[in-house]
Amino acid sequence: MATMGTSRKQLWYWLLLVIYVFILWVPFYNRLQPTLAGIPFFFWYQFLWVIISAILTAIVYKATE
């Protein structure tokens, strides 16, 4: 069953690694500045990653379906 096409498709899963790098890199986002509409960086960065990770997950889902 493992044709060339399906194994190439599997490569898409590596895209998900990006999420883990950016969210586990705690020192990078453990700061107050820059704020966004008064919201400290620590919070809006993580909120933003909820959205980015959902989009990346959706892309990988579509690409591997």
Binding site: F42, F43, Q46, V60
Partner: protein, 512 residues
């Protein structure tokens, strides 16, 4: 007594109860079969699965405890956000395989899979036992969530709790997983309404988000910067999030949610849409800061409740202060119903584990499918009674500690369940030894911290690396599983036969 709130609460609670009993007739199936009663006949599509998993994973206790942690401890309480960011990509990669193999072989629990894969009732028993152990205090904490909101409306004592649980027990018994699935739809809509209202109304009363953040001391808004010679709060925060993400879908109630989907794509698709709940969780976490700025803990009318429930009373107090009484009642009903959904699924999952992986293999090997379901239904009652006894008889502190330990324990099933989905190179007895090592070391690490925290400060050559004990225990677990696998295979000890085939893990399943 807050009569307006209480009336709204009781009316909504009653409506949901009716729904729970009607659920037996929804997507009708033969409720005398375990996969009908316990998995809703594996008939749920994308939308129902979204509500079901959302209602199942983001529990009422989460809605109370996460803001309570932010309220009390500050930024560390926000770890729930990176945790839920990391969980879904992992689920997308791994869990469709579990869904497919379970569909092919009729597995209802993770331990069913382990039994089939490794030809070992013993290893499956270990997995089932761990699931039961981790689930019991979790159910009890859902009750604690109900207790807090009922107290917020001025009702004391254990009687309301007993009534709520009798109702829950009755419709779970008759309708099985269909009840929480149907109720989850209502509950989640109520939670969304509550949180969106809170996110708009409360900051407006408090002078806006910028003002809220400006009013919180800076050391509560970010993690403490680690001193020299330690990775400090950074490694604690990251590992807590990562370990929790790896553990979440190993919980029996999460696996029940996954396996009840009607096809593989439903599971995959949901990993892209479930993060909507994570946004909700983020807002809920911020309620902790709003409660600080609103100064609820210093208000005389809440003094006795704060004394009794501690930071867990922060959100109920904030709602009482900020919302009109009728909407506070609506919000409390959302939380209480939000406790019933996971509690029902957890008790169903626990009942399936006991019946499939303890009763059938060890006590009554020849029981029929109908007997099996009858036993599962009774066990679901026993499990709930046990949780009720816990919460009535023991201080809440012990429940919280047991639940923290539960997270450590459940992660120790990862090698057998998750790695087992990919490879059979690990030997069944090596996995059992690895599991035992992880369970014991994880518990000892937490015991050395007097069960107050799960962050274990590991000393490595002059460095201190504080990290989630569950991950340290998992590393030891993996090392023992790997090394002993080589030993056992070399020694020629039988690895048993594998019931599954390579293609079973890729089956797409029927489309209803």
């Amino acid at each position: 007594m807050n009569w307006v709130a209480l009336t709204v609460f009781v009316v909504l609670f009653a409506a949901v109860t009716v729904l729970g009993f009607i659920a037996a007739r929804w997507r009708k199936g033969d409720l005398g079969l375990l996969q009908e009663w316990g998995l809703g006949g594996r008939r749920f599509g994308t939308i129902v699965t979204w509500f079901l998993l959302g209602g199942d994973l983001y529990t009422a206790y989460t809605f109370i405890a996460v803001p309570a942690l932010v309220f009390g401890a500050g930024a560390i309480g926000f770890f729930g956000i990176p945790y839920t960011v990391m969980v879904y990509p992992f689920v997308l990669i791994v869990f469709p395989r579990l869904w497919s193999v379970s569909r092919t072989h009729g597995y209802v629990t993770a331990a069913d899979f382990v039994s089939g894969r490794y030809d070992s009732n013993g290893l499956a028993l270990a997995i089932a036992f761990t699931g039961l152990l981790a689930t019991m205090p979790y159910i009890a904490l859902q009750l604690a969530g109900i207790q807090v909101v009922i107290a917020a409306m001025g009702v004391r004592g254990d009687l309301p709790l007993v009534i709520a649980f009798a109702i829950l027990a009755a419709y779970t018994y008759t309708s099985g997983l269909r009840a929480p699935a149907l109720i989850a739809v209502v509950k989640d809509l109520m939670i969304y309404i509550t949180v969106i209202a809170a996110a708009i109304v409360i900051p407006e009363q408090l002078g806006g988000y910028a003002h809220i953040f400006a009013s919180i001391p800076a050391d509560k808004l970010v993690l403490a910067r680690p001193g020299s010679g330690t990775t400090g709060a950074y490694s604690a925060y990251g590992t807590l999030a990562l370990g929790s993400a790896l553990a979440l879908f190993l919980y029996p109630h999460a696996i029940t949610g996954v396996l009840s989907a009607n096809n593989r794509s439903v599971v995959r698709r949901n990993t892209a849409i479930l993060p909507a709940y994570s946004l909700l969780l983020g807002i809920i976490a911020l309620l902790g800061y709003m409660a600080v700025v609103a100064g609820v803990s210093k208000m005389p009318q809440f003094a006795s409740d704060f004394k009794h429930y501690g930071p867990n009373f922060a959100v109920p107090a904030l709602f009482l202060k900020s919302f009109p009484a009728w909407f506070a009642g609506f919000a409390f009903a959302a939380i209480a119903i939000g406790a019933l959904v996971p509690a029902a699924i957890m008790s169903i999952a626990a009942a399936s584990l006991y019946t499939r992986n303890i009763h059938r293999p060890f006590i009554r090997p020849r029981c029929t499918d109908r007997e099996e379901t009858a036993i599962a239904k009774i066990v679901s009652l026993v499990v709930k009674l046990g949780a009720l006894a816990f919460i009535v008889l023991l201080p809440l502190k012990y429940m919280i500690q047991l639940q923290l330990l539960g997270g450590i324990w459940i992660l120790q099933t990862l090698p057998a369940v998750i790695l087992g989905l990919y490879t059979r190179r690990l030997h069944r007895w090596a996995l059992l030894a690895g599991w035992a090592t992880g369970m014991v070391t994880g518990t000892l690490m937490t015991a050395s911290l007097h069960f107050a925290t799960t962050i274990y400060p590991l000393h490595v050559g002059g460095m201190v690396i504080p990290a989630y004990a569950a991950l340290y225990a998992l590393v030891l677990n993996l090392v023992v599983s790997g090394v002993l696998s080589v030993v056992f295979h070399t020694a020629g000890i039988s690895a048993g036969s594998d019931q599954t085939a390579h293609s079973d893990y890729l089956q797409r399943g029927g489309v209803d």
